[in-house]
C-alpha cells in the first residue's frame, strides 16, 4: 500500500465492534485507507455497511463497544460528530434528512464556516457555489429551497455531493450514494465524485451494486459480511461479485447464515435497481 508524505494513512479502522440497541452489528472491522485512494465496500443487505458509515460519523444510536477509528492518526471516537466533520470527515447520507424551514444557502454557509473556521465573503461563496452547482448540473434555485425538503432522490444525492465539494473533506464516506438514481443522475453524481478525487482525498464508497463502479474505478474492493470484512481485493473483485453475486462468499465465509441471507442478493448485486 502507498502511504502519504507523513508516512501515515489518512484513515484507519482497528477491530471496530458496534452494537445497535444492544445487538452486535459490527464484529471486528479493520480497514486502512491512504490519501488518494478510493476503497469500495460491498456486501449484501444487513451486512453492516450503513452501521459502519454511521459509526464513523458518530451517530448517537450506534454504540462502539471496542476498537479505534483514526483520522490522520487521531482517534475520533471520543469526538462529537461536528468535531469529526471539522477535522475532515464527511458522510454522504444514504437517506439525507429533510429540514423544513432551513434554507439550503444558509445551511451551506453555516457548514462552510464551521469547516473552514471563517465566513467566506458572500461574493466568493456565491462564485464557489455556482461553480459546484454547475459541476453537478443543478439549478441555482436549489439554493433557496429548504434542505432536502421535497427533493427527488436524484436531487438529494446531488446535494450530498455538492456539500462534499464545498467542504473539501480529507476522508469521505459515501453511503449508497448511487442508490435510487436513474442512469443519467448516476453518471452526473459519479462525474462529480471523480472531479473531487485527488492526491489528498481518501474515499470509502459503500455500495450494494456494482454499476457505479462502471464510472468510479476503485483502487481496492472490500466485502463486508455479517459485520466483518471477509475479502479484500483489487477492482477485479467487484467484477467477480457482479458475475456471481454474494452467494459464493456467503457459502465460503458464513455458511451458517446462508439461510437468512436475502435470496435475491445474487441477482440484485449485478442487476442494479
Amino acid at each position: 500500500m502507498t502511504e502519504d508524505n507523513d508516512g501515515q494513512p489518512i484513515f484507519v479502522i482497528e477491530d471496530l465492534h458496534v452494537s445497535v440497541e444492544g445487538k452486535p452489528i459490527l464484529k471486528g472491522v479493520d480497514l486502512v485507507i491512504n490519501r488518494g485512494e478510493v476503497h469500495t465496500l460491498m456486501g449484501p443487505n444487513g451486512s453492516g455497511k450503513s452501521t459502519l458509515a454511521n459509526s464513523i460519523m458518530g451517530h448517537p444510536r450506534y454504540e462502539v463497544t471496542k476498537g479505534r477509528v483514526l483520522l490522520k492518526g487521531e482517534d475520533v471516537l471520543s469526538l462529537t460528530p461536528d468535531q469529526r466533520a471539522r477535522n475532515g470527515l464527511f458522510l454522504a447520507f444514504q437517506y439525507p434528512m429533510g429540514i423544513p424551514g432551513v434554507v439550503m444557502g444558509n445551511f451551506l454557509r453555516a457548514a462552510m464556516k464551521a469547516r473552514h473556521g471563517e465566513d467566506l465573503p458572500v461574493r466568493e461563496f456565491r462564485k464557489l457555489l455556482d461553480e459546484k452547482l454547475d459541476l453537478l448540473k443543478m439549478d441555482p434555485s436549489f439554493v433557496r429551497r429548504y434542505v432536502n425538503e421535497g427533493f427527488s432522490g436524484g436531487e438529494k444525492k446531488r446535494a450530498e455531493v455538492l456539500q462534499m465539494a464545498l467542504l473539501q473533506p480529507e476522508l469521505a464516506v459515501l453511503d449508497e450514494t448511487d442508490s435510487g438514481l436513474d442512469i443519467d443522475a448516476l453518471r452526473t453524481v459519479a462525474e462529480g465524485i471523480n472531479a473531487l478525487r485527488g492526491p489528498d482525498l481518501g474515499v470509502l464508497l459503500i455500495t450494494h451494486y456494482q454499476r457505479i463502479l462502471d464510472y468510479i474505478k476503485p483502487d481496492i474492493v472490500h466485502v463486508l459480511l455479517d459485520g466483518r470484512i471477509v475479502k479484500t481485493g483489487g477492482p477485479e473483485l467487484s467484477g467477480e461479485l457482479e458475475e456471481k453475486g454474494y452467494d459464493w462468499i456467503i457459502q465460503e465465509f458464513a455458511p451458517a447464515n446462508a439461510g437468512v441471507a436475502p435470496a435475491t442478493a445474487g441477482s440484485s448485486a449485478g442487476g442494479g435497481d
Binding site: 444510536r61 429540514i99 424551514g101 432551513v102 453555516a110 464551521a114 456539500q163
Partner: protein, 443 residues
C-alpha cells in the same frame, strides 16, 4: 372629576361600568348594552376547573381581585417618544402602514390614515369616535360576530370596552399596506378591554395587524376581534400577543365569511402568564375559505390554551389550520380545535395540523384536533398533530456537516418558526418577533 373618580377605583364592578360610560359621554343605547353585558358577566360562574373548557389551565391563577379597569393615561401622548420604553414598538413610525390606531391604556391616543385610502371611503378610527361619526356602522355591526352573553370574559369585555378600533373598507376598495391597531398597557394591576371591528365590504381587500404589549406586571386583558368579510372580500389579520409576564390574557376572535370571501389569520402568541384564546371562523357563504396560522413560544411557566373552530356552512368551503409551538422551561400549551362540516357544506375541505417542539423535559403540549362531519359529500378532511423534542436525526445531519449541536438546534428552531413567521406581512414586525424569540431562547 370623573377621572379622579375612576383612578381611585380598585375593583371591577357595576359602578365602574357606569363611571366609564359617563366619562366617555356615551349615548344611552351604549350604556344600556354595557349594563346588559355586565349582568351577563355577573350571572356566569367563574371558571370551574372541572369544566371541559377550563380543565386544561390552572384556574387558580385566574382572578379579578385587585384588578381595576384601566384609566386614561395621565401624560399627553403625542408621539412614540412619549410612550414608556417598554411599549415603544407598539407605535413604530418606520413601519410601512396605510393607517394606525394607537391605544394606550383605556384610550386611543393617535389615529392616522393615508389620504388615498381616506378618499376612497376607508374608515380607520377608535370606537368612540366611530359611535359619534358613524353610528349606523356601529349599531348594525358591533357585537354581531361576538355576543357578550356567550362567554364570561367576553361579557366583561363588552361591559368595560374602551378605546377600540374600527376598520371599514367599502365595496371594491383594496388597501395594499397593512392597518395597525397597536395597544399598549402602561398601568399595573389594570384591566384592559380592547375591541377590533373589521368590516370588509364586497370585493374589498385589507390587512390588519393587531399588536398588544405591556411590561411584565400583573394585570388582565380581555379583547374581542370581529371580522365581517363581505362577498369576495379578502381579509388578512395578524395578532401579535406580547403582553408581559404576569398578565392574564383572554381573547375572542371571530370571522364571518360571506360568499367567496377569503380570510387568513396569523396568531403570534408570545406573552402573558395565562392565555385563553378563542378563534372561530364561520364560513357561511359558498366558496368562502380560510387559512389559520399560529406560532407560539412559551417559556418559564407560561400557559397557552387555544380553542379554534372551523365552521363549514356554505358549499365548497375550505379551511386549513397550521399551529406551531415551541415550549421551553415548564411552559404548557393546549390546543382544542374543532372542524365542523355541516350538512349544507357539500364538497368542502378542511385540514388541521399542530406541530409542537419541546425544548425541555418539563414543557408540555396537548393538541386535540376534532372532526365533526355531518355533510355527506366532503371533498377532504384531515388532521395531524405531533409533539416532541428536536429531531435527533436532523441534529445529526447538521452536526455531520461540522455544525455544533447547540447551533444546529438553533437552526432547527429558527427553521421551525420560519414557515409561519415568513408569512407575516411586515418585515419590521418579523424582526421584532425574531428578537423576542431570541430573548426567550437566551440568545
Amino acid at each position: 372629576m370623573t377621572q379622579a373618580d375612576t383612578t381611585t377605583r380598585t375593583q371591577i364592578d357595576r359602578a365602574a361600568v357606569e363611571a366609564l360610560s359617563a366619562r366617555l359621554n356615551e349615548p344611552d343605547w351604549v350604556l344600556k348594552r354595557r349594563l346588559e353585558a355586565w349582568a351577563a358577566f355577573e350571572e356566569a360562574p367563574m371558571p370551574d376547573p372541572l369544566d371541559e373548557e377550563w380543565r386544561r389551565i390552572d384556574t387558580e391563577k385566574l382572578s379579578l381581585d385587585g384588578i381595576a379597569p384601566c384609566v386614561p393615561v395621565s401624560a399627553d401622548v403625542t408621539a412614540p417618544s412619549s410612550l414608556p420604553d417598554s411599549l415603544r414598538t407598539v407605535w413604530d413610525e418606520e413601519e410601512d402602514l396605510a393607517g394606525r390606531v394607537i391605544q394606550l391604556d383605556s384610550d386611543v391616543v393617535h389615529t392616522s390614515l393615508d389620504e388615498d385610502a381616506a378618499a376612497k371611503g376607508v374608515i380607520v378610527t377608535d370606537l368612540h369616535t366611530a359611535a359619534a361619526e358613524h353610528p349606523e356602522i356601529l349599531r348594525e355591526k358591533l357585537a354581531t360576530a361576538v355576543r357578550p352573553q356567550e362567554w364570561k370574559y367576553l361579557a366583561l369585555q363588552a361591559a368595560l370596552r374602551s378605546g377600540g378600533c374600527l376598520v371599514y373598507v367599502p365595496e371594491g376598495v383594496e388597501i395594499e399596506l397593512p392597518v395597525k391597531y397597536g395597544i399598549g398597557l402602561a398601568s399595573a394591576q389594570a384591566g384592559l378591554f380592547p375591541h377590533l371591528l373589521l368590516v370588509a365590504e364586497a370585493n374589498s381587500r385589507v390587512t390588519v395587524i393587531q399588536e398588544g404589549i405591556s411590561a411584565d406586571q400583573p394585570g388582565l386583558v380581555s379583547g374581542a376581534v370581529e371580522v365581517l368579510a363581505g362577498p369576495g372580500a379578502n381579509v388578512r389579520f395578524v395578532d401579535v400577543q406580547r403582553w408581559g409576564y404576569g398578565m392574564q390574557n383572554f381573547a375572542t376572535m371571530r370571522a364571518l365569511l360571506e360568499k367567496d370571501a377569503t380570510f387568513q389569520s396569523i396568531l403570534l402568541g408570545l406573552g402573558g402568564s395565562i392565555t385563553k384564546s378563542r378563534l372561530d371562523v364561520k364560513m357561511q357563504g359558498d366558496g368562502s375559505n380560510t387559512e389559520l396560522l399560529g406560532l407560539f413560544f412559551g417559556d418559564r411557566d407560561q400557559q397557552f390554551d387555544y380553542d379554534t373552530r372551523q365552521d363549514h356552512v356554505g358549499a365548497r368551503t375550505e379551511s386549513d389550520l397550521l399551529f406551531k409551538s415551541v415550549l421551553s422551561d415548564s411552559a404548557a400549551l393546549t390546543w382544542h380545535g374543532v372542524v365542523d362540516v355541516q350538512p349544507s357544506a357539500s364538497q368542502s375541505a378542511a385540514n388541521q395540523t399542530s406541530r409542537n417542539l419541546l425544548l425541555s423535559d418539563k414543557a408540555s403540549a396537548a393538541p386535540t384536533p376534532i372532526l365533526e362531519i355531518s355533510a355527506h359529500d366532503v371533498a377532504s378532511c384531515s388532521h395531524g398533530a405531533t409533539v416532541g423534542p428536536v429531531d435527533e436525526e436532523q441534529i445529526f445531519y447538521l452536526q455531520a456537516r461540522g455544525i455544533p449541536a447547540d447551533v444546529a438546534e438553533q437552526m432547527l428552531v429558527d427553521g421551525f418558526f420560519a414557515e409561519v413567521l415568513e408569512r407575516v406581512p411586515s418585515e419590521r414586525m418579523q424582526e421584532r418577533v425574531r428578537a423576542v424569540l431570541d430573548t426567550k431562547l437566551g440568545r
